[in-house]
């Protein structure tokens, strides 16, 4: 079974600084996708970024980028120039057939 592990229950960052959220996963499959979702207090799940496992190049979306290490089964999210609106729960997710989520990291942004 696939498992997703987020070892940081909470993280804090100063506004305009950079923060990295960690995620590891366990799978025996070779073809899969990885996602980071953001969940603000509104409960709406918002896609932040996705990574195809067959691509070596790390995905980037504006201030958000990932460090994907397939051999190590690691998929961390880097948020640059943090903004107050980035404060939320962040979930790492793995998808082959269905989607599995990590436990989440609560990010606080300090002004």
């Amino acid at each position: 079974a696939q498992t997703v592990t987020q070892s940081q229950p909470e993280m804090s960052v100063q506004e305009a600084e950079t923060v990295t959220l960690s995620c590891t996963y366990d799978t025996s499959e070779s073809d899969y996708y990885l996602f980071w979702y953001k969940q603000p207090p509104s409960r709406q799940m918002i896609l932040v970024i996705r990574q195809e496992a067959y691509k070596q190049q790390n995905a980037t979306e504006n201030r958000f980028s990932v460090n994907f290490q397939k051999a190590a089964k690691s998929f961390s999210l880097k948020i640059s120039d943090s903004q107050l609106g980035d404060a939320a729960m962040y979930f790492c997710a793995y998808r082959s057939k269905d989607m599995r989520f990590g436990a989440g990291t609560r990010l606080t942004v300090k002004p």
Partner: protein
């Protein structure tokens, strides 16, 4: 993309009763998923509901407790049966655009259920 309407957004129910949650999608989708999320915690997959077939339940979840209907490609319901306070949680409907793994999952805004 897909827009999901989930009803009700919240409810307070008496123990021993049942609640049916509806999930309506603005486009036809193949795969629909139901998740449970305890406050401040992760999403746990309850079951996968594909149109025209029986729902597939994850370990720890059974059809008698969480019956699911999927009558067409735009609609599904999840019923929480014979509720107890332990069923208090947020229930989320999710859809994927197709069989391709690269399709992101879209989510409803969830149903916050409190059982008293």
């Amino acid at each position: 993309s897909a827009v999901i309407s989930q009803k009700p957004s919240r409810d307070i129910c008496q123990r021993g009763t049942s609640l049916t949650i509806q999930c309506q999608v603005d486009s036809q989708v193949t795969m629909m998923f139901w998740y449970r999320q305890q406050p401040g915690q992760s999403l746990t997959l309850i079951a996968t509901a594909n149109q025209g077939s029986e729902a597939t339940y994850e370990s720890g979840f059974v059809i008698d407790k969480f019956p699911i209907s999927r009558p067409n490609l735009t609609f599904s319901t999840l019923t929480v049966s014979n509720m107890s306070p332990e069923d208090s949680s947020i229930y989320l409907c999710s859809v994927a655009g197709g069989w391709g793994m690269n399709t992101e999952a879209f989510f409803g805004q969830g149903t916050r259920l409190t059982v008293v």
